[in-house]
């Protein structure tokens, strides 16, 4: 009998702090068990630059600029199941706390009127830099998202429970103690 095909998983961080990825590492030695059943595609763990066809995509962080949109779409186009992981991905999180302000006012304050700016500083306009969106969006406002794993970050145990449920074909269920928004 042939070896069971491994689940192909991609992960990325958009407007996030990589805290959720650190928490993925917090599942500790169970990572080895995980690697028995999954293989990683694009992810900070593999350094693969673009996402190929995957069973599962895990997105940390919200959508705050044009590049985030491109990456998110790449994941959505390639992943059968897309998971939002962490507060920023789920509701915009810390970056979205700028949303009640006008982007114009923010850029002006940060690059033009704040004290301590170097002389001649201007709003960066290098074409290499992705432009910021008017507002920061949780990923479900931009693409269809199949599952959500909230937390800032979700604990290693929550991630483990979530992934093992999903891999086993169960709808993930966290329950008291594992479900957290903070």
């Amino acid at each position: 009998m042939s070896e069971k095909k491994k689940l192909r998983v991609a992960t990325t961080s958009l407007a996030g702090c990589f805290g959720c990825h650190m928490s993925i590492l917090d599942i500790d030695e169970r990572l080895l068990d995980l690697l028995e059943v999954v293989e990683f595609d694009r992810s900070p763990i593999t350094d693969i630059k673009h996402c190929g066809p995957c069973d599962l995509g895990i997105i940390e962080g919200g959508v705050c600029n044009a590049e985030n949109v491109h990456v998110l779409r790449e994941f959505r186009n390639n992943c059968k199941i897309l998971v939002a992981i962490g507060a920023c991905s789920v509701n915009g999180g810390l970056p979205a706390q700028r949303n009640h302000l006008e982007l114009h006012d923010i850029l002006t304050a940060v690059y033009q009127t704040e004290g301590g700016l170097a002389h001649g500083v201007h709003i960066p306009n290098d074409p290499e830099l992705p432009l910021p969106l008017n507002q920061v969006h949780p990923i479900h406002e931009v693409v269809k998202v199949d599952y959500f794993l909230p937390g800032c970050p979700p604990s290693g145990d929550a991630i483990w429970k979530f992934l093992t449920d999903l891999i086993a074909g169960r709808t993930p269920h966290l329950g008291h103690g594992l479900i957290h928004y903070d």
Partner: protein, 631 residues
């Protein structure tokens, strides 16, 4: 308040109302009419004088659309924005007006002269496009009037020097039956009601109720209730509750010391597309007031209110004149018709732009000077209504019918209409018909008959019966009848020919409910906003099937979980149009998959502007399949 004139104006208003907080709505309206707006200092002074916490006064001021807690333009123009006004081109006219005045809708001009915005239906659908200028109704707007109005505003011409013709409101009665035929003699119904009672029962009609162990023989009011029972009259506000049962419950409710029973006439005709009460009050006020007085006689009430929607402000003075005339004729006041103890008087209270006040308990809150928030029920108004007193709230048309029942008897009335829906119904017909206006029919008339009489133009696509909270009928259903057992209605009938977009009908209604939700309960407060946003998304061709299923989900949640009828019915027209006119939605869909609600490329606009960039990387395609891989 350092300005002495302002202070004395305010004190005059307050003392006219006895410094009574329950009269706050009238105090705020009159103050605003005199001072232009309700400044923080004004609210503080009002609160101090009436002895209410300031936050409570501000709570009321902030609730109603027609109260201004920020400086208002010298001219405040509000375009009626019902779907019928839209169909008559109000949006283009408003746009033209804004351009000529160098204004953005909703913004006060730099010089504080004028603001232009929209408001919910002003009840002039048969003579639109309509608007309010400083809360005075103007009908039949067109481009020539827009141009002239802009000039009058620019030259700061006072409103009473504007062409009188603009303020003319037509009755447009196209078919009259028992109510609108207009040969009612004031006092005749009351005399008939009194005559029906035996002699020893005609005194002290205000003093008893069944539960208070009636002295024997006080059968005057009972005789009237018998007629009401025979008539089988059902409430004309739409719900169709038995008028007699409501009255009996109120009559039987115990009174505490110092209390009286209250008769309230609900003239908060806010359901878009309805304008029958306006005509009843402008042309047949005696009929309505007499019906109220008959009701007071039957239940033993001494105090009556007409709660008149703010949009009908222009009716206040004429109605007060009718009341004065009736007092002179001894049809109101003390010992009416010479009956000892038959005391009853009526006062007009004006609303201030809040559809939800059409709900009877919200209306009572408003009468008490509070925000119009529907109460938790039970208890019902019939036992705990205005200032906790037993109160009946009936529609204008219900009272008009009551007068006719008193005059001609319940049996006579019950022979009109159908068995379960007796009497007549006044329909306010607007939209795509040659002769918009009022049509009074015996209950049981088919929709088709009404359309034929009104001259429906060309092919009829749909008919909205009973306003946005009512039912949307398709062309297949025109043989249905106006009756509580078939198609119940509060009276509105808006007709849409085949050139109309039925999606836009539901879209307009979605915004109406989002604007009018009182905000008390979660499902309606947030739900109406979510629904309006989903409809906007579909309207701008960003929607998908996913959004349509979201609309169904919101309908299921709001219908049932909401606190009052507003939330419960807010998705009716969406549900109906989705079921009966689904292609109107489907042809707007962008795709069958999920689509974001916002334009991604437009979401980079500010950053593009700030950086001066316009390269390929400074744009986003709105197609999900478009993936940038060249980075």
């Amino acid at each position: 308040m350092n300005d002495q004139n302002t202070l004395s104006t305010l004190q005059a208003v307050l003392s006219r109302h006895g410094n009574d907080g329950t009269r706050l709505m009238q105090i705020l309206r009159e103050t605003q009419e005199a001072l232009g707006w309700l400044s923080p200092a004004t609210l503080t002074a009002v609160a101090k004088t009436i002895g209410w916490p300031r936050a409570k006064v501000e709570g009321t001021a902030a609730f109603y659309s027609f109260f201004h807690t920020r400086p208002r333009g010298k001219y405040c123009v509000l375009w009626s924005d019902n779907i019928t006004d839209r169909m008559l081109g109000n949006r283009d006219l408003m746009q033209a007006m804004c351009e000529k005045l160098w204004l953005e809708p909703g913004r006060l001009s730099e010089d504080g002269l004028v603001s232009v915005n929209t408001t919910s239906c002003t009840g002039m659908c048969d003579q639109g496009p309509a608007l309010l200028v400083n809360y005075r109704a103007i009908t039949r707007m067109d481009m020539a009037r827009v141009e002239q109005m802009v000039e009058l505003i620019r030259s700061e011409t006072p409103l009473d020097q504007w062409p009188a013709e603009w303020f003319r409101v037509e009755d447009n009665v196209r078919r009259a039956d028992i109510l609108l035929s207009g040969n009612f003699v004031p006092g005749s119904a009351l005399r008939a009601a009194v005559a029906r009672a035996t002699a020893d029962g005609t005194t002290a009609s205000n003093d008893r109720s069944v539960k208070e162990s009636l002295p024997r023989g006080l059968v005057g009011p009972t005789a009237m209730l018998d007629e009401m029972r025979l008539s089988n009259l059902r409430g004309r506000g739409g719900a169709g509750f038995s008028t007699r049962l409501k009255w009996e419950a109120c009559r039987n409710a115990p009174l505490k010391d110092g209390q009286t029973r209250i008769v309230v006439c609900n003239a908060d005709e806010g359901e878009p597309g309805t304008f029958k009460d306006r005509v009843l009050l402008s042309a047949h006020a005696d009929l309505v007031f007499e019906g109220m007085t008959v009701a007071a006689y039957a239940i033993g009430a001494t105090k009556g209110f007409v709660y008149l929607r703010g949009e009908y402000r222009y009716l206040l003075e004429p109605l007060n004149e009718v009341l004065a005339r009736r007092r002179q004729a001894n049809l109101l006041g003390k010992n009416i018709l010479g009956l000892s103890g038959a005391d009853f008087d009526i006062e007009i209270h004006l609303g201030a732009g809040a559809y939800v006040c059409g709900e009877e308990s919200a209306l009572i809150e408003s009468l008490e000077g509070k925000p119009g928030r529907p109460r938790i029920r039970p208890p019902f108004p019939v036992t705990n209504g205005y200032l906790d007193q037993p109160t009946i709230v009936n529609n204008v048309e219900t009272f008009a019918s009551t007068a006719m029942i008193a005059l001609n008897g319940g049996e006579w009335f019950s022979k009109i209409g159908t068995k379960q829906s007796t009497g007549t119904k006044i329909l306010s017909v607007s939209g795509d018909v040659l002769r918009p206006g009022l049509y009074e029919y015996p209950f049981g008339v088919t929709i088709q008959q009404v359309l034929d009489d009104a001259g429906a133009k060309g092919c009829v696509q749909g008919v909205q019966v009973s306003g946005p909270s009512g039912i949307t009928l398709s062309a297949d259903e025109l043989e249905r009848r106006i009756a509580f057992e078939d198609t119940p209605t509060a009276g509105a009938m808006m007709v849409f020919d085949c050139s109309r977009d039925m999606f836009e009908v539901a879209h307009n209604f979605a915004h109406f409910f989002a604007h009018e939700s009182c905000g008390f309960c979660t499902p309606c407060r947030v739900g109406t906003q979510i629904v309006a946003r989903l409809m906007d998304k579909l309207a701008t061709n960003h929607g998908s099937q996913y959004d349509i299923s979201e609309l169904f989900k919101m309908h299921r949640l709001m219908q049932g979980a909401s606190h009052c009828g507003l939330g419960n019915t807010a998705c009716n027209s969406i549900f109906d149009t989705l079921n009966k006119f689904k292609p109107a939605y489907e042809r707007r869909l962008k795709s069958l998959d999920f689509e974001p609600a916002f334009d991604l490329d437009a979401a980079l606009s500010e950053a593009r502007q700030m950086t001066g960039r316009d390269d390929a990387g400074a744009h986003l395609s709105n197609e999900l399949s478009h993936v940038e891989t060249s980075r």
